[in-house]
């Protein structure tokens, strides 16, 4: 029984770890980008703003929150743009709505002139590094009421959550597999204890 448990744990640890490894690489590499990249995000290529005629959904100016985002979604789909709609900025005096749309690789801003029925579209292609940083932060804690308004943002959230649960499994199964190696117990225990003390020491220094 113990042998079967060991073999199954070892195989699951291996295969789940291999499946998860590209996600772990993504999250690990983007840590360096998020912690150290201070230069202003540079445009890889920004297309000149283009003005297009659109059919403006009724009530888009009066709508709020997710309802406004859904109506904005109708506008951006007419323009052939897809992505997560961020906080929409309203300029009531000019009857304008500024709709930022973002996804890995592309950032677009749709400046919707409601009365004229036109939209000025600016598109910027982002770098691969920016895409990794975006995915690391996505969906994130901000604008919770409207977040996940694009299917693929929700799909990524599901995968990011799955990454956490599977990392928990990998760490617990890793502890079990290490504990089975009697010859490594002392060295491993010392390292785990040292890691715990380092963790507690730094956290205590930062918060106290």
């Amino acid at each position: 029984m113990a042998k079967i448990l060991y073999v199954w744990t070892r195989d699951l640890h291996l295969y789940i770890g291999l499946f998860l490894s590209p996600f772990l690489l993504l999250f690990a590499i983007s840590v360096f980008l998020l912690n150290h990249v201070r230069a202003p995000v540079s445009a890889v290529s920004a297309t000149p703003a283009e003005v297009r005629v659109v059919r403006v959904p009724a009530g888009i100016e009066a709508a709020q929150g997710i309802e406004r985002v859904q109506l904005a979604g109708e506008v951006i789909s007419q323009l052939g743009i897809s992505g997560e709609i961020n906080f929409i900025r309203a300029v009531p005096k000019e009857s304008r709505l500024v709709i930022p749309v973002v996804k890995p690789g592309v950032e677009a801003v749709v400046d919707l002139h409601v009365k004229e029925g036109t939209a000025k579209v600016s598109v910027r292609k982002t770098t691969f590094g920016e895409s990794l940083s975006y995915l690391h932060r996505s969906p994130g804690p901000h604008n919770a009421a409207i977040r996940g308004n694009w299917f693929w943002t929700r799909a990524w959230q599901w995968l990011a959550d799955a990454t956490v649960y599977l990392v928990m499994f990998l760490s617990l199964s890793g502890i079990y597999l290490w504990a089975m190696l009697r010859a490594e117990r002392t060295a491993g225990f010392i390292l785990m204890l040292t890691g715990a003390l380092t963790f507690a020491g730094i956290v205590y220094a930062v918060i106290s």
Binding site: Y15, A28, F32, V41, A160, S171, W178
Partner: protein, 213 residues
């Protein structure tokens, strides 16, 4: 028959994998768990902001000669006994005033100083353990939407070094796992399927979504 060098490499590669995992275990759990919390702001039990403790007070400041905004902020912090990372407001400072925040995980001080009257109004905001954990995940002294923000507190730098070390450790663990898997011939086919599935899924999000109409 494996050579001694090959056996030694295999042994030390395996050791590197679980030694790193054991050393960074608590860091990994913290960042994993807080990543989950940050992605679920709707979870009520972790909503720390509504349970914050906020107090306000006013205090006189010592008059000072002309100083840069950063030096003046540091002087004020020293006078008030505050320590932490300085956050500047997005807008430019008003003449004769200095507004800034001093933050550390769990504690935020918003300082609004009148440099003509030499008085400061301070808002002290304390959050619970959920708030501390949330902030630890993102506490780097930099802002994605504000490239001008820089680290100015030593302990922020220490925490960033810890975050970088965890990320570097994770990279090493992933690459050591590839080597261990490669050495297990009977597991290569199934492992390749698992790895390819992971790469395709991840690449779809990192690269493919940009091409999606």
């Amino acid at each position: 028959m494996q050579s001694f060098r090959s056996q030694s490499l295999e042994l030390w590669n395996r050791r590197l994998h679980y030694y790193l995992g054991l050393y960074f275990l608590f860091f990994l759990w913290l960042f994993s768990f807080t990543g989950l919390l940050l992605n679920h702001p709707q979870w009520r039990f972790t909503n720390y902001w509504q349970d914050r403790k906020e107090t306000q007070f006013e205090t006189p400041l010592q008059p000072r000669g002309p100083l840069s905004e950063l030096d003046r902020a540091r002087e004020i912090m020293r006078e008030l006994g505050l320590a932490g990372e300085i956050d500047w407001p997005a807008q430019k400072q008003t003449q004769g005033r200095l507004d800034f925040a001093v933050s550390r995980p769990g504690l935020l001080h918003r300082v609004s100083a009148d440099l003509i009257q030499n008085r400061a109004r301070i808002s002290r905001i304390e959050v619970n353990a959920w708030g501390v954990m949330n902030v630890l995940h993102t506490f780097s002294g930099t802002r994605v939407n504000n490239p001008a923000a820089t680290r100015d507190w030593t302990l922020t730098t220490v925490w960033v070094i810890a975050m970088d070390a965890v990320a570097a450790g994770l990279l090493l663990m992933v690459f050591s796992s590839y080597y261990m898997w490669y050495r297990l011939k009977p597991k290569r086919r199934m492992g390749l399927i698992a790895l390819t599935t992971g790469i395709v899924t991840c690449a779809f999000f990192a690269v493919g979504l940009g091409w999606l109409r």
